[in-house]
Amino acid sequence: MKLSRSSVQSFLRFVSVLLGLILLTPALGLTGAKDDAKQITVAAAADLSAALEEVAAGYEKSTGTRVVLSFGASGTLTQQIQNGAPFDIFFSADMDYPRQLIAAGYADAPTLYRYAVGRLVLWAPADSPLDFDRVGMNALLDPSVKKISIGNPQHAPYGRAAVAALKHYGLYEKVTDRLVLGENVAQAAQFVESGNAQVGLVALAHVLAPAMQGKGKYWQVPVDAYPPLEQGVVVVSRSAHKQDAAAFVEYIKTAEAAKVLRRYGFALPPQ
């Protein structure tokens, strides 16, 4: 096929306009953040999503340091940090992943701090017929329960806690074929919220979040049923903002931050 000269010209004009627009984007300030403001990037376990957002907002207000948050399963985030993800701080949902990072040289040992103890809850939609207060964990055996969502025990600490609790009550074998795994504990909760799983073993912090108010009912799994969900924070070794990162970790230790964490159902370690 032969192209006419005018069609080639108009195509070239189109391409040059497109290129011009692409080159202009940064100049227009449409992408990228301001360089002059301080900024730290935080990787955090999924159970912290609502609580840490509130803590970070308070911190930003009082210090002006921007806190960029990324949430995921602790195992996933550990993996990302080992592979060079540009995080300054890592809030895990357990102590093992931070220790693993320290041992491998990816995180600074002196910065490790146990900031909270998480709680596991049974959670079902508000209109669920399940009566947690009467039957407790045995609600999982109710015939109306077709699917039970938990975090993936391979890389989500809450998933491991859920499996431990199921085994503690001798329910694990009975419900194995009804378990569905969320990529992290927040997705496990989302499976319940969307009505696809009838009940889930999720984080107390998640069901106490403002967005979840009135959407479901919960029952706290007794703490002796699973190893304590002690959660650790650590500064990443290759962080380029170690001072700012350390300052944020110090802020987590203040009464102000502790108040927020407690409101989301986290127990605080004795100081």
């Binding site: 077709k146 569905v180 795994l181 969307s194 009505g195 696809n196």
Partner: protein
């Protein structure tokens, strides 16, 4: 690197192959009439249907997966209807994955189908009609044989696209071994658990398998291309 067959999750492989073949078959049957309509309809709003068919290409798989999850859940009329019929929701089942995958791969079947239908010389259809053939007979005796390369391409793309699907499965699957844990989810889990060797083995096998399937299909396609019109 030699492939260590012990490290590969064969259940996940079988499941993924089954899913990809089923989705290809469904989209072949579903895609033929849809593509025919797109190629031959004179409706003014045809472009709207074309745009809807193309949507899964631009929608992130997580968005599509989220929509499917909500649509299948007990909060939606569709989910409730299915639940009253079968007693369980469609999410976290193999059927749920099939539905998600059919939507996700729809354009990969319909677009090549429609493009090859449109390329068929209308004069041949007119000739077929004057010889007394019904539109259906003309479709199977004239349009389909002349469009064979496009049909094969569409089915091959659907198959390959479903083999490598991740986001939709992650959103609606629930990672159940033997039911919804596909190869891509298995690889993801292996990487998260630092089992790089196992992840590598599985990924390599997936790569080899998909390459073989595509090579065979495109090899056949070449033949269809050269002998087809001469028939």
């Amino acid at each position: 690197m030699p492939i260590d067959l012990q490290a590969v999750d064969w259940q996940a492989f079988g499941l993924t192959l089954q899913l990809a073949m089923l989705v290809s078959a469904i989209l072949f049957l579903l895609g033929l009439p849809l593509a025919y309509w797109i190629a031959f309809s004179r409706r003014r709003w045809r472009f709207l249907i074309e745009a809807v068919v193309a949507l899964p290409i631009v929608l992130p798989p997580t968005v599509l997966g989220f929509y499917v999850l909500v649509a299948l859940g007990s909060r939606s009329p569709l989910g409730r209807w299915w639940q009253s019929l079968t007693g369980h929701t469609l999410a976290f089942t193999f059927s749920g994955l099939v539905i998600g995958s059919v939507l996700y791969s729809l354009p990969f079947a319909v677009q090549p189908f429609a493009a090859s239908f449109s390329a068929v010389d209308r004069k041949l259809l007119a000739a077929s009609a004057t010889l007394g053939a019904s539109p259906l007979r003309s479709f199977f005796r004239v349009v389909v044989p002349l469009s064979a390369p496009g049909l094969i391409t569409g089915v091959a793309l659907t198959f390959a696209h479903t083999m490598g699907e991740f986001g939709v499965v992650l959103m609606v699957g629930g990672n159940i071994p033997g039911v919804t844990r596909t190869v891509s989810i298995d690889i993801y889990d292996q990487v998260q658990a630092s089992n790089y060797a196992a992840a590598n083995q599985t990924a390599l096998l997936l790569l080899v398998l998909c390459f073989a399937v595509l090579a065979v299909v495109y090899g056949l396609n070449r033949q269809a291309w050269t002998i087809g019109p001469a028939k």
